[in-house]
Amino acid sequence: MAKEGLGLEITELRLGLPGDNYSEISIWGSKKKKRVLSDMMISSSLNTEDENGVVSSLVDESLPVVKSQAVGWPPVCSYRRKKNNEEASKAIGYVKVSMDGVPYLRKIDLGSSNSYNNLATVLENLFGCLGLGVAKEGKKCEYIIIYEDKDRDWMLVGDVPWQMFKESCKRLRIVKRSDATGFGLQRD
């Protein structure tokens, strides 16, 4: 019954055996209206570990999404599922941040940030990288910030209202603007 994924899993450090995630059965035809990172190939010459994995999901909604569970499984009603997500994100507060070319992960307390600007400042200080604006147009920073949301899609930071972002952001990545296509970003 398992349908094939794209074979491009997020290769991350985690506990547990590979394939531990409730069978990687894909979601078909799910209506996703968000701007999802598409065909993003991120390479970094300084990248040694597989910490910064490659993620790609297709814009074409009829094709499988990477590494997802079967729709509606386990059979927890959607109301409860949402509450579960809210609890999980509230409880954590801290999200991991990785940056291309930097071999270590950092953690920041998203709960204590109150705006996108604030977040940008925090990240700038953390990684010693200036001009890390989250806006898409205008700023010509070399890097952009993307985040993984509850549905495991990679999204551009800054698109949704701050509160919504805070609740759905599971982790952050700072990537080179030139490496990230598909977000409607203007090329330098």
Binding site: M1, R14, L15, G16, D20, N21, Y22, S23, I25, W28, G29, K31, S62, Q69, A70, V71, G72, W73, P74, P75, V76, C77, S78, Y79, R80, R81, K83, N84, N85, E87, A88, K90, A91
Partner: protein, 577 residues
């Protein structure tokens, strides 16, 4: 009986309460049918598309209470697309046009709009009770209409609905003259609550027995609310977040101690576990405890609380309680009848060492002799455990086991779980509802067909090998009413073997199975009293009529009996054959 005047017979019928029984007596003879019709006050409609409002009103003109269910059960798990159906407005419109004196409306999995709530609130002068479970489509504006216009409102019970919270003043809309509230549940509202308005409302509702708050009601407000409603029987605690200062905590404790009638506790939507001890004094009185939304209370705090709840009959909890915690439950809660253990980690991300296993389940079955209903999410199971459970607890009415990973075998023997579930159905002669999971072959369905004589509802996922599996069930379980199947290899042969069977059932759901369009068409052909719906959201699969591939597999099939033919409100992606 026919020598008695109608009023006498009617009086006798008043004592017949259950829907099944009333349906039966209406079949005895014309005279009884007529008397029953006009004396029926409560009607239950399990599928809103099985009948239409006009016929309902025509038959039961004196109806006072209506219960309606809309979407199929699997809609809870996002398997039914939005806009599928289940709209309540036509019902309310029809009832409003007629002269039905509606007093109570209970809806489950239906689409409710502010417009329908407004119409409801204006149309029935004696309206008393609104219960909405797993509904969607409305906002707090609709609630404001109800509050404003329903002068005799006794019950407003909102359970697990998707409500757009406009952060308005709906609580303020209850007029000062409204003092009749018995039950108020708004736990599912996400936004800010006008706490002052709430306190005033509670203060002027001396009959209030059930109050369930949402997360926006903080601790100090809780203390005040409980102080002015010591008669509460059922309490849903909202936000419980901050650790209070000693003075607030003392006030809370005093308030709680006075609530000697409290029997049911739920909520704790945001929790500071250090506040739980405030509830210790009333734990001995509790018969129902729902901590399944309290994700932040850790196992040991839960255990301390539960140890005091010796009279508990119903417990809903998260698997963070662990097997250890379930052993405590088994030792403490000897009156336990219903247990639900939900997964705290739905996405399976963390290595949840504390989660429950077969050990907890066996302990519960051994320790709780009155247990008859269980819903259990776990990561692993064994046949030996299920056999032990069956032996310990032959009284199960509802047995729902969900092993989180599909196709997972007995983790010790690596065999399928056929024997385990077989033992359950063989021992539990009164079993009415069953959900199976884990690695299962056709054999388990042979057992179910053979032994589960009282089974009315069966949920199957990722199970079985061939059509025989489904056939065993359809042939064996004569009382089956609802059958729902997903991701299992059952196809046309099983579907078409006994088409007449489906008219004895409420509904059949099959998704990601092997049935084809051709099979569904054949099924629909000679079944005017069945609606056969094909739900296909995927744009690419929609073809022109003449290009249709009969061999194409059907994504989702939902069929149900009906006396009113094809419904007119289906969205474009639903095809009714």
């Amino acid at each position: 009986m026919n020598y008695f005047p109608d009023e006498v017979i009617e009086h006798v019928f008043d004592f017949v309460v259950s829907h099944k029984d009333r349906n039966s007596i209406s079949l005895v003879c014309k005279s009884w049918h007529k008397i029953e019709r006009f004396s029926r006050k409560e009607v239950f409609i399990g599928n809103c598309y099985a009948i239409n409002p006009e016929r309902l009103i025509g038959r039961f003109p004196c109806l006072k209470s209506l219960t309606l269910k809309g979407k199929p059960h699997f809609a809870d798990f996002n398997l039914v697309p939005h806009e599928w159906g289940g709209f309540v407005l036509p019902w309310i419109e029809a009832l409003a046009r007629s002269r039905v004196g509606l007093e109570e409306l209970r809806l489950k999995r239906m689409v409710v709009t502010d417009e329908s709530l407004e119409l409801l609130s204006r149309s029935f002068a004696n309206f008393k009770s609104l219960v909405l479970v797993s509904c969607e489509g409305f906002t707090t504006d609709g609630l404001a209409s109800i509050a404003t216009n329903c002068r005799h409102l006794r019950e407003l019970d909102l359970q697990e609905n998707e409500i757009d919270d406009h952060r308005g003043q709906w609580l303020n809309c209850f007029p000062d003259s409204c003092t009749t509230l018995i039950s108020l549940n708004f736990a599912c509202l996400k936004g800010e609550t006008n706490v002052a308005a709430l306190e005033r409302l509670v203060a002027r509702s001396p009959n209030l027995k059930s109050l369930k708050l949402n997360r926006a009601v903080p601790l100090d407000a809780l203390a005040r609310l409980m102080s002015c409603a010591p008669q509460l029987v059922d309490l849903g605690v909202g936000s419980y977040e901050n650790e209070p200062d000693p003075e607030s905590f003392a006030k809370l404790m005093t308030a709680i101690e006075k609530c000697i009638s409290l029997r049911s506790l739920s909520g704790f939507l945001e929790v500071a576990p250090l506040c739980l001890p405030a509830f210790y004094p009333i734990c001995q009185n509790l018969i129902s405890l729902n901590l399944s939304y309290a994700a932040e209370i850790q196992g040991n705090h839960l255990i301390k609380l539960i140890q005091l709840c010796k009279r508990l009959q119903r417990l809903w909890i998260l698997d963070s309680i662990g097997d250890k915690g379930l052993v405590v439950v088994a030792d403490t809660c000897k009156e336990l009848q219903e247990l639900r253990v939900f997964p705290s980690d739905v996405h399976g991300e963390e290595d949840n060492i504390a989660a429950v296993t077969e050990v907890g389940l066996v302990a519960i079955s051994a320790g709780c002799p009155k247990l008859h209903s269980i819903l259990y999410f776990c990561k692993q199971m064994t046949n030996a455990a299920l056999i032990a459970v069956a032996k310990n607890c032959p009284n199960f009415i509802r047995f729902r086991l969900c092993i989180l990973e599909p196709h997972k075998p007995d983790h010790i023997t690596s065999q399928s779980l056929d024997e385990g579930f077989g033992a359950i159905v063989q021992a539990c002669k009164g079993l009415r509802r069953l959900s199976v999971s884990g690695l299962l072959t056709d054999q388990v369905f042979l057992y179910i067909g053979m032994y589960a004589e009282q089974l009315e509802m069966l949920s199957i996922a990722f199970a079985g090998d061939t059509d025989k599996g489904m056939l065993y069930v359809l042939n064996g379980c004569k009382k089956m009413r609802k059958l729902e199947i997903r991701d299992s290899p059952f196809g046309n042969a099983a579907l078409l073997a006994d088409v007449g069977r489906y008219e004895t059932m409420r509904s059949l759901w099959m998704s990601s199975c092997e049935v084809t369009l051709g099979g569904c068409k054949r099924l629909a052909q000679n079944s005017p009293r069945l609606n056969v719906e094909i739900i296909n959201e995927n744009e690419n699969n929609r073809m022109e009529q003449n290009e249709e591939d009969e061999g194409e597999k059907v994504d989702k099939l939902y069929l149900y009996r009906t006396v009113v033919g094809t419904r007119k409100d289906a969205p474009p992606y639903v095809r009714i054959l």
